[in-house]
C-alpha cells in the first residue's frame, strides 16, 4: 500500500525536519516499527539524534538502499570503499553515529561504526583504553601483575605483520630478529651484528648481507663488512614491529 515514493517526515532533537523516502527511512528498524504501528502521516520524532547526524545517517541508508535495489551501479568493493570513507570522521561524530545507529536500530551501520572503533583501539595499551572509556582499574597491583603474566604473550610485541620464515643463519650469531616500522628487517645478534633487508626480498633470498652495528648508536650504520650467509637447514621466526633508531 502506498506508492514507492512514499515519504516519511522525521524531526530531530534540534527541531530539524527531514523528508525521506520510505524505503530509505525504514532501514532503521525503530522508524519502521513506529511507522507501521503509528499514524503514517504524522511526523516521527527521533529525539536522541541531531540534525547533522541524521543527515549523515540518511546518506548512508540511501546509498545502501540504492545499491541493493540496483538503482546505483556500484560493486561490492566500491560500496566497501564508500563505507570506509563514510567513517572517516572525527571521533565525536563517530561515537554519535554509534549511539544513533543503536537507537535507530540500523544493524549494518552499527556493525560498521563499532568495527571502526575496534580497529582504532586494538593495538592500544591497557592504560590508554582505561582513559578512553573512563574505566577505573579495580585490580590490586599483585592481581594485575598476575593477570598480565597469565596473558604475557598478548603483551609481546612479537608477531603479526613483518614476521616470516627466513633461512637459518649458518653460525650462532643469530639471537633474534626484529623489523622496524618501515618493514625493513633489522637483525640484532648477540655480538651486535646487524643486517637489513626488506621483507619482500627476504622471502626468496638465499643469502643475506651483514652489517655491523657501531658502538655509538647515534652514528649511522655502516656496511662494515659484507658477509654472505649461506642457507642452513631449519628455520627461524622473525619478530616484528617496533621503531628502532636507525
Amino acid at each position: 500500500m502506498g506508492s514507492t515514493s512514499t515519504k516519511i517526515k522525521l524531526r530531530t532533537s534540534d527541531q530539524k525536519v527531514f523528508e525521506v523516502e520510505k524505503a530509505v527511512a525504514v532501514q532503521s528498524q525503530t522508524i519502521k516499527y513506529i511507522y507501521e504501528n503509528g499514524c503514517p502521516d504524522s511526523v516521527i520524532h527521533v529525539h536522541s539524534v541531531s540534525g547533522d547526524i541524521l543527515s549523515k545517517i540518511l546518506d548512508y541508508c540511501k546509498k545502501h538502499v540504492n545499491s541493493a535495489a540496483g538503482k546505483e551501479d556500484i560493486s561490492p568493493e566500491e560500496l566497501y570503499e564508500w563505507d570506509a570513507n563514510f567513517v572517516k570522521v572525527d571521533q565525536n561524530t563517530l561515537f554519535d553515529l554509534i549511539l544513533a545507529a543503536n537507537c535507530l536500530k540500523i544493524e549494518s551501520l552499527l556493525d560498521l561504526t563499532c568495527q571502526t572503533v575496534a580497529n582504532m583501539i586494538k593495538g592500544k595499551r591497557p592504560e590508554e583504553i582505561r582513559t578512553t572509556f573512563n574505566i577505573k582499574n579495580d585490580y590490586t597491583i599483585e592481581a594485575e601483575e598476575a593477570v598480565r603474566r597469565e596473558n604475557k604473550w598478548a603483551f609481546d610485541m612479537l608477531g603479526g605483520v613483518g614476521t616470516m620464515v627466513i633461512e637459518e643463519l649458518a653460525d650462532d650469531t643469530m639471537s633474534k630478529c626484529v623489523t622496524n616500522a618501515k618493514s625493513r628487517v633489522c637483525v640484532i645478534a648477540a655480538n651486535q651484528i646487524v643486517m637489513m633487508r626488506s621483507i619482500s626480498k627476504l622471502a626468496n633470498k638465499k643469502s643475506i648481507d651483514v652489517y655491523k652495528q657501531p658502538q655509538n648508536p647515534t652514528t649511522p650504520r655502516i656496511k662494515e663488512s659484507v658477509k654472505q650467509i649461506n642457507v642452513g637447514t631449519g628455520f627461524i621466526e622473525l619478530f616484528f614491529h617496533f621503531k628502532c633508531k636507525m
Partner: protein
C-alpha cells in the same frame, strides 16, 4: 595520538569489544575485573565468534614436516591483502615434536591433535587464538580380554572432533585397533579387534561406543565434521569391485549411519577420494592418483543423493589438493613441493612461495582453517609448561634493551 574520552553505554562497549581480535582481548583482561569476567561469559564468547563467522575471517594453518631437522610444525599464514599468504609464525607443539600429529578442526576455533606414532595415544585439544591447550586424560575404556591372549598394541585408526550442540559439549571420537599376542609364546594373533572410544570435554572422560561393522578411512581435506556430525570414507568389496560410501556419526545421539554408494568414474586404486566440508555441505573431492595435470571432481551429498557440484579441469603440475579457500579457490601442493593457489574463475595458478621443506614427507603437508574464538577448554596456557612459539636456537623472547622503544604499539593483526 591522544584518544579522547567517551561516554558510551555498556551494551555498546560490548558491541565494540566483540569485534576485537583475541590478542587484544587477552591484553585487555587486565583493564578491570569486570571486563575480564565479561570476556568469559557464554554470551560474549558467542557474539565474538559469530562476528568472525559473519565476516568469514578464516585463518589458514599449514602443517609441515621438516625432514632434515626431523621436526613437525604448524605455520600461521597471513591473510593480509598484499602479503600473498606469507608465513607469519611457526608453532611447534612440544608434545608432538617428532611426529606430525593428526589434526582435526577447527571446531569453534578449536583443534584436536593426536599423535601419529604407532602405539602412542596422546591427544590434545588446542585453541590457537587464546593459546590454551589441554592434554586429554588416558582412555579408561576396557580392552576386551580373551583367554590366553594379551592385548599388546592399541593402534589409532581414525577420528573426528566436533561440537555436540544438544549437550553443549566438545567431543572427540576415535577408532582403534587392538592387536593381541599369545600370552605364553608372544605370537601375534591374526585377528584384530576394533573399538570405538568417545571423549567428552564436559565430563573429561572416555567411554566406549558400540563399533559399527565398518573400518573407516581417515582421508579428509581440512575438516570432516559439519553441524554436529562426523564423516569418514568406508570402502567395501574386493578389488576391482570396491564400493565407496560415507560413514557418519551423530555426536548428539551417538549413532552411526551410512550414506548411499558414491558412483564415480574410474578405478578405485587409481583414484584419490578425500572427504571434505564445502559451502555448508559434506562431500568428496575425487582426483586421479597418477599424472601431474590433474582434474578434480567435487561431489556433494544432498540428503540421500550424490550430486556432482563442479569439476576443475586439468590443473598443471600439481600433486595433491590441500583445501578450499574462499570463492572456490583451491590450495594445492605442486611437483616442486610448493603451496599453490588455483582460482577457477580466472584459471590462474599462483605460487605462494611457501616451501614445504620436504624430501619424502609429502603426505605430511596439510592445511587447516580456523576462525578466532575465545572458547575455553579448561586447559593451560602455552607458556606455562612449554614454550611453543620460539626461534629455533633462541628460546628467549626478551627485547634487546639497546633498542629504543618509541611509541610502543601492539600488532594484533
Amino acid at each position: 595520538m591522544q584518544m579522547p574520552r567517551f561516554e558510551v553505554p555498556e551494551a555498546l562497549v560490548t558491541e565494540i569489544l566483540s569485534k576485537l581480535p583475541v590478542k587484544s582481548l587477552m591484553r585487555f583482561n587486565c583493564i578491570c575485573k569486570y571486563w575480564c569476567s565479561s570476556f568469559r561469559t557464554p554470551h560474549f564468547i558467542s557474539k565474538h565468534y559469530h562476528n568472525n563467522l559473519k565476516n568469514n575471517n578464516l585463518n589458514p594453518l599449514l602443517q609441515r614436516f621438516d625432514g632434515n631437522a626431523n621436526l613437525a610444525y604448524l605455520s600461521q599464514l597471513s591473510v593480509e591483502k598484499d602479503e600473498n599468504f606469507l608465513v607469519k609464525q611457526n608453532i611447534r607443539l612440544p608434545f608432538f615434536i617428532h611426529d606430525s600429529p593428526y589434526v582435526w578442526g577447527a571446531c569453534h576455533g578449536l583443534f584436536c591433535l593426536h599423535s601419529s606414532f604407532m602405539n602412542d595415544m596422546e591427544v590434545a585439544i588446542w585453541n590457537p587464538s587464546t593459546r590454551e591447550f589441554k592434554i586429554l586424560p588416558q582412555s579408561s575404556v576396557q580392552r576386551p580380554t580373551y583367554p590366553g591372549l594379551t592385548c599388546k598394541y592399541v593402534i589409532f585408526d581414525c577420528g573426528a572432533f566436533e561440537f555436540d550442540f544438544k549437550n553443549d559439549d566438545y567431543k572427540f571420537i576415535r577408532f582403534v585397533t587392538l592387536c593381541y599376542v599369545d600370552s605364553e609364546r608372544g605370537i601375534e594373533s591374526p585377528d584384530d579387534v576394533s573399538q570405538v572410544e568417545l571423549y567428552s570435554l564436559k565430563c573429561d572422560s572416555w567411554k566406549e561406543i558400540p563399533s559399527p561393522n565398518y573400518r573407516p578411512l581417515d582421508y579428509c581435506l581440512s575438516n570432516n565434521c559439519l553441524d554436529g556430525i562426523c564423516y569418514w570414507q568406508i570402502v567395501t568389496g574386493n578389488s576391482p569391485y570396491e564400493k565407496v560410501m560415507i560413514l557418519s556419526f551423530d555426536m548428539a545421539n551417538e549413532k552411526f549411519s551410512v550414506s548411499p554408494i558414491l558412483e564415480f568414474v574410474g578405478f578405485f586404486s587409481k583414484t584419490n577420494i578425500n572427504v571434505l566440508v564445502f559451502n555448508g555441505s559434506v562431500g568428496v573431492l575425487v582426483y586421479p592418483v597418477e599424472g601431474i595435470d590433474k582434474s578434480f571432481d567435487l561431489w556433494v551429498m544432498n540428503g540421500k543423493e550424490w550430486t556432482k557440484q563442479f569439476s576443475i579441469e586439468s590443473i598443471p603440475g600439481v600433486v595433491n589438493p590441500l583445501g578450499f579457500w574462499k570463492n572456490n579457490e583451491l590450495f594445492l601442493l605442486n611437483t616442486n613441493y610448493e603451496v599453490v593457489l588455483f582460482d577457477p574463475s580466472t584459471q590462474e595458478l599462483k605460487v605462494l612461495g611457501i616451501n614445504s621443506y620436504l624430501d619424502h614427507h609429502r603426505e605430511y603437508v596439510s592445511l587447516f582453517f580456523y576462525v578466532e574464538s575465545l572458547v575455553s577448554i579448561n586447559g593451560i596456557q602455552e607458556h606455562r609448561d612449554h614454550i611453543i612459539r620460539q626461534l629455533v636456537g633462541d628460546a628467549s623472547n626478551n627485547i634487546n634493551r639497546n633498542i629504543d622503544q618509541v611509541d610502543t604499539k601492539y600488532d594484533d593483526g
